[in-house]
Subunit: 374 residues, 2 copies
């Protein structure tokens, strides 16, 4: 298998353009959703998402890692290359941080036309307690050379994307890699990582979209040029066309989501509520920023009122919110579109309309929930 | 909200018939897949599926259960009605059983036309170690009356399906409910149930498709007539038309699945392999029966050869298999369709072609994997 000739033999999807305006979904999109799990939105009720409810985005296969032979290679432009066992890493200073992660493609399927890829609606989010050791300590021990400009992270998951055979790889600048909160983690919610979350070791980069938190980490390499691999230059870009190189996706944009109130219809997920006071609840988050405001609308976005903000359990975790709503019968058969939007401490506010880009990245439009009061 | 008037106000899906021959999928089907998680097929490599990789089928919402007020009500036609706390239940004789569960709708989306519902391909399976107490002990303590014919199980998850507002409910005959292996379980893989798996207590009925293993169990009731609720009479039937009452779905049909070999293309999941010997692996299971044979084909089902069977870890759990295949370049650009089929100890063998039914139940057609050797 060589990199050059691995592409065109795969069956084409849709019209082959990689984009579609069809409101229906291709089988290839569906089968990705059975691998890449969403968090049902009632999961917003937990400060820390139960491990089995946290979202998953796995580009290739979940690799099988044998701890007896695994180690983390630290190399490239460093003074003291190393190969660290998991015990070596556990012997380093440990830290636990509550971190909200979100996939950069969350909301992709709400764009039209949309990129034919993992067709997230809104469920690609979760919050966990991650335990590990600061990356900075490992980099300092290795002694990163002055000529290094980035740290390259390589996972052991291998596959083909955009016609390139590749291991999953992403890089960070030296400055980003040395931030206090960036960690090599081996526990999630107080237990060893499950295989699908990166066992035995993964990177966690709080505040960034999830693509940067490389799973099944095998190698950390200090490099002299910015890394230009597939997952950096061909995807995870805010671009307006296939020719537009666009800007790299980085920090998580401000977003609030709501626990859908009432009870669901099985197929359509339309919600039914009885008339009377309802406490709406949910969470809001914004990368490295705080949340300064959450607002609710019960008329599809014409009028907004402030929700009450709860405590933020950590600097990088979602913040709870609640709002009171008096559900009433109305002339529209009891139909309402409830909406929620958040503003971060930098002043960024979610828009009601989608702000389109070709890869379907960072779509943080306000969340809408259709309900019927009866 | 009343049961009679809860239906027609939901938006119709597709042509409204509840069936479609469209190879594309409706948004309603997609959003169900973000709640109802599949097990990526590389998960077949584990004897017990990691909790966060096990499949999930959740009809309504995951309920929030407060252990301080929760109890299990045992009532109906019994001599000694009871309300048992979780501590009461944990004080009863405990047992751990390794059980393979599968959703009755697994394979639904491989039928054409298909029922518009949760569009499973093949991933609705998982195997766990379940710990709890035999149901029979609880029934014996309550003293089920002679006039009782069934035990009705009610979960606390509520919603609307088929225009009926309902709590999720299923029943078993007295004889089935008293089988040794039927359990009330509070632990999965040695830990308390996660919310999405039925915290604090669920039923496990080994050998049956998953719809019978009621989650978030609140009530067990001995009843004098066969229960005829929605989840018994309107769904989980092998029927040929909307008018055909059909036969009830019960035990899991024989099936083998394969860990897809090689590496995947991200979007199409087509597999690439290098030429040379390959060990194909997977699992096979068949409700209460054993597996007597697993066969492999590398030519789309024309010729078959026997796989080697591994140990079955428990009577109700999947059995591993392995088979050697020599992957070679060929005149078809290295393309092969690998297939696997199993035969159970009752002599039932999977068919290569689907055996259609209108609800998309029990589709255990042989598993195919397209690969390219290059």
């Amino acid at each position: 298998m060589t990199q050059q000739d691995a592409g065109s033999r795969f069956p084409s999807v849709g019209d082959g353009s990689g984009m579609t305006s069809d409101p229906r979904f291709y089988r290839e999109e569906l089968q990705l959703t059975f691998r890449n799990r969403g968090m049902p939105l009632e999961g917003l009720r937990y400060d820390a998402t139960p491990t089995g409810m946290h979202y998953l985005l796995i580009h290739f296969d979940i690799p099988e890692v044998d701890l007896a032979t695994w180690n983390l290679k630290v190399g490239g432009l460093v003074d003291r290359p190393a190969a660290l066992s998991l015990d070596d890493i556990k012997a380093l200073p440990a830290r636990t941080e509550v971190v909200t992660m979100e996939c950069a493609g969350n909301g992709r399927a709400l764009f039209s036309p949309r990129s034919v890829s993992q067709p997230w609606l809104l469920e690609a989010v979760g919050t966990s307690e991650w335990t590990g050791t600061p990356l900075k300590g490992v980099l300092d021990a290795a002694g990163v050379g002055r000529e290094a400009v980035e740290i390259l992270f390589t996972g052991s998951d291998q596959g083909v994307q955009g016609e390139e055979v590749q291991y999953y790889q992403r890089s960070l600048t030296i400055e980003e890699a040395n931030r206090d909160e960036v960690m090599l983690v081996y526990e999630m919610n107080g237990r060893p990582l499950e295989p699908q979350h990166g066992y035995p070791l993964r990177l966690i980069v709080p505040g960034w979209y999830g693509m940067t938190s490389v799973k099944w980490l095998e190698s950390i390499e200090a490099i002299s040029e910015p890394f230009n691999g597939y997952q950096m230059h061909s995807t995870y870009r805010y671009a307006q066309s296939a020719d537009d190189p666009g800007e790299p996706v980085d920090l998580i944009r401000v977003r609030a989501l709501m626990v859908p109130p009432g009870i669901p219809d099985f197929l359509t997920r339309t919600r039914l509520l009885s008339p009377g006071p309802v406490t709406l609840t949910g969470r809001a988050w914004a990368g490295r920023s705080g949340i300064s405001r959450v607002e609710i609308s019960a008329d599809g976005g014409e009028n907004w009122s402030d929700a009450q903000l709860g405590v933020q359990p950590s600097r990088f975790a979602w913040r709870g919110w609640t709002a009171q709503w008096n559900a009433q019968l109305n002339a529209a058969g009891g139909r309402y579109t409830l909406m929620v939007r958040a503003t971060d401490t930098e002043g960024n506010r979610q828009s009601v309309e989608p702000e389109w880009n070709i890869q379907g990245m960072g779509n943080n439009m306000a969340h809408s929930v259709d309900v019927i009061v009866e």
